[in-house]
Symmetry: C2
Subunit: 158 residues, 2 copies
Amino acid sequence: MRQRHCNRPGGWQGKLRGCGYRITIGREAILDVLTKYKDKHLSAEDIYLKVHSIYSDIGLTSVYRTLDMLISMGMVSKFDFGDGRARYEIAGEGQKEDHHHHLVCTICKRVINYNDFIDEELQLINKTEKSLSEKHKFEIRSHLVQFYGICDKCKKKK
Amino acid sequence: MRQRHCNRPGGWQGKLRGCGYRITIGREAILDVLTKYKDKHLSAEDIYLKVHSIYSDIGLTSVYRTLDMLISMGMVSKFDFGDGRARYEIAGEGQKEDHHHHLVCTICKRVINYNDFIDEELQLINKTEKSLSEKHKFEIRSHLVQFYGICDKCKKKK
DNA sequence: CGTTAAATGGAAATGATTTTCATTTAAAAA
DNA sequence: TTTTTAAATGAAAATCATTTCCATTTAACG
Ligand SMILES: [Mn+2]
Ligand SMILES: [Mn+2]
Ligand SMILES: [Zn+2]
Ligand SMILES: [Zn+2]
Protein backbone atom coordinates (compact mmCIF):
# COMPACT_ATOMS: atom_id res chain seq x y z
CA MET A 1 0.00 0.00 0.00
CA ARG A 2 1.34 3.36 -1.06
CA GLN A 3 2.23 5.78 1.70
CA ARG A 4 0.58 9.13 1.05
CA HIS A 5 1.78 12.52 2.08
CA CYS A 6 -0.54 14.66 4.14
CA ASN A 7 -2.31 17.55 2.46
CA ARG A 8 -2.24 19.98 5.36
CA PRO A 9 -1.25 23.44 4.23
CA GLY A 10 2.35 23.59 5.33
CA GLY A 11 3.11 20.19 3.86
CA TRP A 12 5.36 20.03 0.85
CA GLN A 13 2.49 20.68 -1.51
CA GLY A 14 1.60 23.91 0.23
CA LYS A 15 5.20 24.99 0.12
CA LEU A 16 5.51 24.42 -3.60
CA ARG A 17 2.21 26.18 -4.28
CA GLY A 18 3.25 29.05 -2.06
CA CYS A 19 6.28 29.56 -4.28
CA GLY A 20 4.22 29.35 -7.44
CA TYR A 21 5.31 25.83 -8.41
CA ARG A 22 3.02 23.06 -9.62
CA ILE A 23 2.46 19.71 -7.96
CA THR A 24 3.62 16.87 -10.22
CA ILE A 25 4.09 13.14 -9.92
CA GLY A 26 7.81 13.47 -10.55
CA ARG A 27 8.25 16.05 -7.81
CA GLU A 28 6.29 13.96 -5.35
CA ALA A 29 8.33 10.87 -6.19
CA ILE A 30 11.61 12.72 -5.79
CA LEU A 31 10.56 14.10 -2.40
CA ASP A 32 9.43 10.60 -1.38
CA VAL A 33 12.84 9.17 -2.22
CA LEU A 34 14.70 11.98 -0.47
CA THR A 35 12.54 11.48 2.61
CA LYS A 36 12.92 7.71 2.61
CA TYR A 37 16.71 7.97 2.34
CA LYS A 38 17.07 11.03 4.53
CA ASP A 39 20.26 9.87 6.24
CA LYS A 40 21.92 8.76 3.02
CA HIS A 41 23.70 11.05 0.57
CA LEU A 42 22.27 10.32 -2.85
CA SER A 43 23.60 11.64 -6.15
CA ALA A 44 21.24 12.92 -8.84
CA GLU A 45 21.62 9.63 -10.66
CA ASP A 46 20.96 7.61 -7.48
CA ILE A 47 17.74 9.55 -7.08
CA TYR A 48 16.87 9.12 -10.74
CA LEU A 49 17.30 5.34 -10.54
CA LYS A 50 15.26 4.99 -7.37
CA VAL A 51 12.45 7.15 -8.70
CA HIS A 52 12.61 5.42 -12.07
CA SER A 53 11.93 2.04 -10.48
CA ILE A 54 8.53 3.22 -9.26
CA TYR A 55 7.77 5.91 -11.86
CA SER A 56 9.50 5.07 -15.10
CA ASP A 57 8.45 8.24 -16.90
CA ILE A 58 10.91 10.32 -14.91
CA GLY A 59 13.89 11.82 -16.74
CA LEU A 60 17.30 12.61 -15.32
CA THR A 61 16.94 16.19 -16.51
CA SER A 62 13.87 16.66 -14.36
CA VAL A 63 15.66 15.25 -11.36
CA TYR A 64 18.31 17.93 -11.73
CA ARG A 65 15.68 20.60 -12.28
CA THR A 66 13.60 19.54 -9.31
CA LEU A 67 16.65 19.39 -7.04
CA ASP A 68 17.64 22.92 -8.04
CA MET A 69 14.12 24.11 -7.29
CA LEU A 70 14.06 22.39 -3.89
CA ILE A 71 17.48 23.80 -3.04
CA SER A 72 16.36 27.32 -3.90
CA MET A 73 13.42 26.82 -1.55
CA GLY A 74 15.68 25.56 1.23
CA MET A 75 14.03 22.14 1.26
CA VAL A 76 17.12 20.27 0.08
CA SER A 77 20.85 20.67 0.74
CA LYS A 78 23.56 19.96 -1.80
CA PHE A 79 27.00 18.69 -0.80
CA ASP A 80 30.35 18.08 -2.42
CA PHE A 81 32.23 15.23 -0.80
CA GLY A 82 34.98 15.20 -3.37
CA ASP A 83 34.00 12.29 -5.60
CA GLY A 84 33.03 14.39 -8.59
CA ARG A 85 29.28 14.25 -8.18
CA ALA A 86 26.99 16.37 -6.03
CA ARG A 87 25.07 14.72 -3.19
CA TYR A 88 21.63 15.72 -1.97
CA GLU A 89 19.86 15.43 1.35
CA ILE A 90 16.44 16.59 2.48
CA ALA A 91 16.69 19.50 4.91
CA GLY A 92 14.82 18.68 8.11
CA GLU A 93 12.43 21.33 9.39
CA GLY A 94 13.06 21.07 13.10
CA GLN A 95 16.67 22.17 13.27
CA LYS A 96 17.05 20.26 16.54
CA GLU A 97 16.70 16.57 15.77
CA ASP A 98 17.83 16.53 12.19
CA HIS A 99 20.63 19.04 11.95
CA HIS A 100 23.99 17.35 11.61
CA HIS A 101 27.45 17.77 10.18
CA HIS A 102 29.69 15.39 8.23
CA LEU A 103 32.78 13.27 8.55
CA VAL A 104 34.19 12.43 5.10
CA CYS A 105 36.72 9.74 4.22
CA THR A 106 39.04 11.21 1.60
CA ILE A 107 39.90 7.75 0.29
CA CYS A 108 36.63 5.84 -0.11
CA LYS A 109 34.41 8.96 0.11
CA ARG A 110 32.22 7.37 2.78
CA VAL A 111 30.27 9.95 4.78
CA ILE A 112 29.22 9.76 8.42
CA ASN A 113 26.56 12.03 9.90
CA TYR A 114 27.29 13.26 13.38
CA ASN A 115 25.43 15.15 16.06
CA ASP A 116 27.96 15.31 18.88
CA PHE A 117 28.55 18.78 20.29
CA ILE A 118 25.96 20.02 17.83
CA ASP A 119 24.56 22.38 20.48
CA GLU A 120 27.94 23.87 21.21
CA GLU A 121 28.73 24.05 17.52
CA LEU A 122 25.46 25.75 16.69
CA GLN A 123 25.93 28.19 19.56
CA LEU A 124 29.33 29.20 18.27
CA ILE A 125 28.05 29.26 14.70
CA ASN A 126 25.24 31.60 15.69
CA LYS A 127 27.65 33.91 17.46
CA THR A 128 29.99 33.88 14.46
CA GLU A 129 27.13 34.39 12.05
CA LYS A 130 25.89 37.42 13.94
CA SER A 131 29.32 39.01 14.09
CA LEU A 132 30.21 38.30 10.48
CA SER A 133 26.83 39.51 9.24
CA GLU A 134 27.43 42.90 10.79
CA LYS A 135 31.11 43.21 9.96
CA HIS A 136 30.77 42.28 6.30
CA LYS A 137 27.15 43.32 5.72
CA PHE A 138 26.58 39.76 4.63
CA GLU A 139 23.21 38.07 4.99
CA ILE A 140 24.10 34.57 6.16
CA ARG A 141 21.67 31.83 5.16
CA SER A 142 23.44 28.57 5.97
CA HIS A 143 26.69 26.99 6.98
CA LEU A 144 28.78 23.95 6.18
CA VAL A 145 30.98 22.05 8.61
CA GLN A 146 32.87 18.97 7.48
CA PHE A 147 35.78 16.96 8.82
CA TYR A 148 38.04 15.06 6.42
CA GLY A 149 40.16 12.08 7.20
CA ILE A 150 40.65 8.37 6.80
CA CYS A 151 38.01 5.92 7.90
CA ASP A 152 38.40 2.74 9.88
CA LYS A 153 38.22 0.44 6.88
CA CYS A 154 40.62 2.44 4.72
CA LYS A 155 43.13 2.64 7.56
CA LYS A 156 43.14 -1.16 7.91
CA LYS A 157 43.77 -1.64 4.21
CA LYS A 158 47.15 0.05 4.48
CA MET B 1 64.86 41.05 -10.76
CA ARG B 2 63.48 37.60 -10.13
CA GLN B 3 62.59 36.77 -6.54
CA ARG B 4 64.23 33.50 -5.55
CA HIS B 5 62.97 31.01 -3.03
CA CYS B 6 65.32 30.08 -0.24
CA ASN B 7 67.09 26.75 -0.43
CA ARG B 8 67.07 25.92 3.27
CA PRO B 9 66.07 22.36 3.88
CA GLY B 10 62.48 22.76 4.97
CA GLY B 11 61.71 25.08 2.10
CA TRP B 12 59.38 23.85 -0.60
CA GLN B 13 62.24 22.20 -2.46
CA GLY B 14 63.18 20.11 0.52
CA LYS B 15 59.57 19.11 0.98
CA LEU B 16 59.19 17.91 -2.57
CA ARG B 17 62.50 16.03 -2.47
CA GLY B 18 61.54 14.49 0.85
CA CYS B 19 58.45 13.04 -0.83
CA GLY B 20 60.47 11.77 -3.79
CA TYR B 21 59.33 14.46 -6.21
CA ARG B 22 61.58 16.36 -8.60
CA ILE B 23 62.12 20.11 -8.67
CA THR B 24 60.90 21.61 -11.94
CA ILE B 25 60.41 25.07 -13.35
CA GLY B 26 56.68 24.50 -13.69
CA ARG B 27 56.30 23.44 -10.08
CA GLU B 28 58.29 26.42 -8.88
CA ALA B 29 56.22 28.80 -11.00
CA ILE B 30 52.95 27.34 -9.71
CA LEU B 31 54.08 27.66 -6.10
CA ASP B 32 55.20 31.23 -6.81
CA VAL B 33 51.77 32.14 -8.13
CA LEU B 34 49.96 30.42 -5.26
CA THR B 35 52.17 32.28 -2.79
CA LYS B 36 51.78 35.63 -4.50
CA TYR B 37 47.99 35.28 -4.54
CA LYS B 38 47.68 33.56 -1.18
CA ASP B 39 44.53 35.36 -0.12
CA LYS B 40 42.77 34.90 -3.45
CA HIS B 41 40.98 31.75 -4.55
CA LEU B 42 42.34 30.85 -7.96
CA SER B 43 40.95 28.18 -10.28
CA ALA B 44 43.27 25.82 -12.14
CA GLU B 45 42.83 27.92 -15.25
CA ASP B 46 43.54 31.15 -13.35
CA ILE B 47 46.79 29.61 -12.18
CA TYR B 48 47.58 28.32 -15.65
CA LEU B 49 47.13 31.77 -17.18
CA LYS B 50 49.22 33.52 -14.55
CA VAL B 51 52.02 30.98 -14.83
CA HIS B 52 51.78 30.99 -18.61
CA SER B 53 52.47 34.72 -18.76
CA ILE B 54 55.90 34.20 -17.20
CA TYR B 55 56.64 30.64 -18.30
CA SER B 56 54.83 29.92 -21.53
CA ASP B 57 55.88 26.27 -21.71
CA ILE B 58 53.46 25.33 -18.94
CA GLY B 59 50.46 23.17 -19.84
CA LEU B 60 47.09 23.12 -18.14
CA THR B 61 47.45 19.38 -17.57
CA SER B 62 50.57 19.94 -15.52
CA VAL B 63 48.83 22.57 -13.45
CA TYR B 64 46.18 20.01 -12.50
CA ARG B 65 48.82 17.37 -11.81
CA THR B 66 50.94 19.67 -9.71
CA LEU B 67 47.96 20.86 -7.71
CA ASP B 68 46.97 17.26 -6.95
CA MET B 69 50.50 16.55 -5.81
CA LEU B 70 50.63 19.61 -3.58
CA ILE B 71 47.23 18.76 -2.11
CA SER B 72 48.36 15.22 -1.29
CA MET B 73 51.33 16.74 0.51
CA GLY B 74 49.11 19.12 2.45
CA MET B 75 50.74 22.19 0.89
CA VAL B 76 47.61 23.31 -0.95
CA SER B 77 43.91 23.27 -0.11
CA LYS B 78 41.13 22.75 -2.62
CA PHE B 79 37.70 24.34 -2.26
CA ASP B 80 34.32 24.16 -3.90
CA PHE B 81 32.45 27.45 -3.70
CA GLY B 82 29.64 26.32 -5.96
CA ASP B 83 30.56 27.91 -9.29
CA GLY B 84 31.48 24.67 -11.03
CA ARG B 85 35.24 24.95 -10.77
CA ALA B 86 37.60 24.04 -7.96
CA ARG B 87 39.56 26.79 -6.22
CA TYR B 88 43.03 26.45 -4.76
CA GLU B 89 44.87 28.21 -1.95
CA ILE B 90 48.31 27.68 -0.50
CA ALA B 91 48.13 26.18 3.00
CA GLY B 92 50.05 28.35 5.45
CA GLU B 93 52.43 26.55 7.76
CA GLY B 94 51.89 28.47 10.96
CA GLN B 95 48.28 27.59 11.70
CA LYS B 96 47.96 30.80 13.71
CA GLU B 97 48.30 33.71 11.33
CA ASP B 98 47.11 32.11 8.15
CA HIS B 99 44.32 29.77 9.13
CA HIS B 100 40.94 31.12 8.14
CA HIS B 101 37.45 30.12 7.13
CA HIS B 102 35.17 31.38 4.36
CA LEU B 103 32.08 33.44 3.73
CA VAL B 104 30.60 32.63 0.30
CA CYS B 105 28.03 34.66 -1.64
CA THR B 106 25.68 32.17 -3.28
CA ILE B 107 24.78 34.69 -5.98
CA CYS B 108 28.04 36.19 -7.27
CA LYS B 109 30.27 33.49 -5.70
CA ARG B 110 32.51 36.10 -4.08
CA VAL B 111 34.51 34.68 -1.17
CA ILE B 112 35.63 36.49 1.96
CA ASN B 113 38.32 35.11 4.26
CA TYR B 114 37.68 35.58 7.95
CA ASN B 115 39.58 35.07 11.14
CA ASP B 116 37.10 36.19 13.78
CA PHE B 117 36.54 33.71 16.60
CA ILE B 118 39.11 31.51 14.95
CA ASP B 119 40.55 30.60 18.35
CA GLU B 120 37.18 29.63 19.74
CA GLU B 121 36.33 27.80 16.55
CA LEU B 122 39.60 25.90 16.53
CA GLN B 123 39.19 25.02 20.19
CA LEU B 124 35.77 23.52 19.57
CA ILE B 125 36.99 21.87 16.39
CA ASN B 126 39.85 20.23 18.28
CA LYS B 127 37.47 18.95 20.92
CA THR B 128 35.09 17.62 18.28
CA GLU B 129 37.92 16.08 16.29
CA LYS B 130 39.21 14.23 19.32
CA SER B 131 35.79 12.89 20.25
CA LEU B 132 34.82 11.90 16.73
CA SER B 133 38.17 10.26 16.08
CA GLU B 134 37.62 7.93 19.01
CA LYS B 135 33.95 7.28 18.49
CA HIS B 136 34.18 6.47 14.79
CA LYS B 137 37.83 5.28 14.68
CA PHE B 138 38.33 7.97 12.08
CA GLU B 139 41.70 9.66 11.59
CA ILE B 140 40.81 13.30 11.07
CA ARG B 141 43.21 15.28 8.91
CA SER B 142 41.44 18.56 8.20
CA HIS B 143 38.19 20.45 8.43
CA LEU B 144 36.09 22.82 6.39
CA VAL B 145 33.92 25.63 7.74
CA GLN B 146 31.99 27.87 5.36
CA PHE B 147 29.10 30.28 5.70
CA TYR B 148 26.80 30.88 2.76
CA GLY B 149 24.68 33.92 2.14
CA ILE B 150 24.16 37.06 0.12
CA CYS B 151 26.82 39.72 -0.05
CA ASP B 152 26.46 43.45 0.30
CA LYS B 153 26.55 44.17 -3.43
CA CYS B 154 24.13 41.42 -4.41
CA LYS B 155 21.69 42.54 -1.74
CA LYS B 156 21.68 46.08 -3.13
CA LYS B 157 20.96 44.85 -6.64
CA LYS B 158 17.59 43.48 -5.57
C1' DC C 1 78.28 13.12 -20.30
C1' DG C 2 74.97 8.82 -20.18
C1' DT C 3 71.21 6.44 -18.08
C1' DT C 4 66.57 6.10 -16.48
C1' DA C 5 62.33 6.84 -14.47
C1' DA C 6 59.66 10.88 -13.57
C1' DA C 7 57.53 14.75 -15.60
C1' DT C 8 55.45 17.09 -19.37
C1' DG C 9 52.27 19.02 -23.08
C1' DG C 10 48.77 18.43 -26.40
C1' DA C 11 45.07 15.89 -28.08
C1' DA C 12 41.42 13.08 -27.10
C1' DA C 13 38.29 11.11 -23.81
C1' DT C 14 35.32 11.42 -19.89
C1' DG C 15 31.35 12.36 -17.42
C1' DA C 16 28.42 15.30 -14.60
C1' DT C 17 25.45 18.94 -15.45
C1' DT C 18 23.02 22.27 -18.51
C1' DT C 19 20.68 23.79 -22.59
C1' DT C 20 17.41 23.33 -26.33
C1' DC C 21 13.14 22.40 -28.12
C1' DA C 22 9.03 20.00 -29.33
C1' DT C 23 5.45 17.85 -26.54
C1' DT C 24 2.72 17.14 -22.41
C1' DT C 25 0.21 18.53 -18.44
C1' DA C 26 -1.39 21.06 -14.02
C1' DA C 27 -4.30 24.30 -12.83
C1' DA C 28 -7.00 28.28 -13.57
C1' DA C 29 -10.82 30.04 -16.34
C1' DA C 30 -14.98 29.52 -18.69
C1' DT D 1 -16.67 19.50 -17.64
C1' DT D 2 -14.17 21.59 -21.35
C1' DT D 3 -10.92 25.11 -22.78
C1' DT D 4 -6.89 27.70 -22.30
C1' DT D 5 -2.14 28.68 -21.25
C1' DA D 6 2.12 28.89 -19.23
C1' DA D 7 4.81 25.68 -16.59
C1' DA D 8 6.90 21.30 -16.69
C1' DT D 9 8.87 17.53 -19.03
C1' DG D 10 12.03 14.05 -21.56
C1' DA D 11 15.34 13.12 -25.02
C1' DA D 12 19.09 14.56 -27.44
C1' DA D 13 22.71 17.63 -27.94
C1' DA D 14 25.88 20.81 -25.97
C1' DT D 15 28.98 22.33 -22.41
C1' DC D 16 33.04 22.37 -19.98
C1' DA D 17 36.05 21.18 -16.00
C1' DT D 18 38.94 17.51 -15.30
C1' DT D 19 41.33 13.14 -16.56
C1' DT D 20 43.61 9.92 -19.53
C1' DC D 21 46.83 8.64 -23.17
C1' DC D 22 51.05 8.63 -25.22
C1' DA D 23 55.12 10.22 -27.48
C1' DT D 24 58.72 13.36 -26.00
C1' DT D 25 61.55 15.82 -22.69
C1' DT D 26 64.13 16.41 -18.57
C1' DA D 27 65.84 16.19 -13.51
C1' DA D 28 68.70 13.63 -10.82
C1' DC D 29 72.26 10.60 -9.99
C1' DG D 30 76.53 8.31 -10.80
MN1 LIG E 1 24.14 14.00 6.02
MN1 LIG F 1 40.65 31.59 1.65
ZN1 LIG G 1 37.37 5.20 3.72
ZN1 LIG H 1 27.37 38.49 -4.11
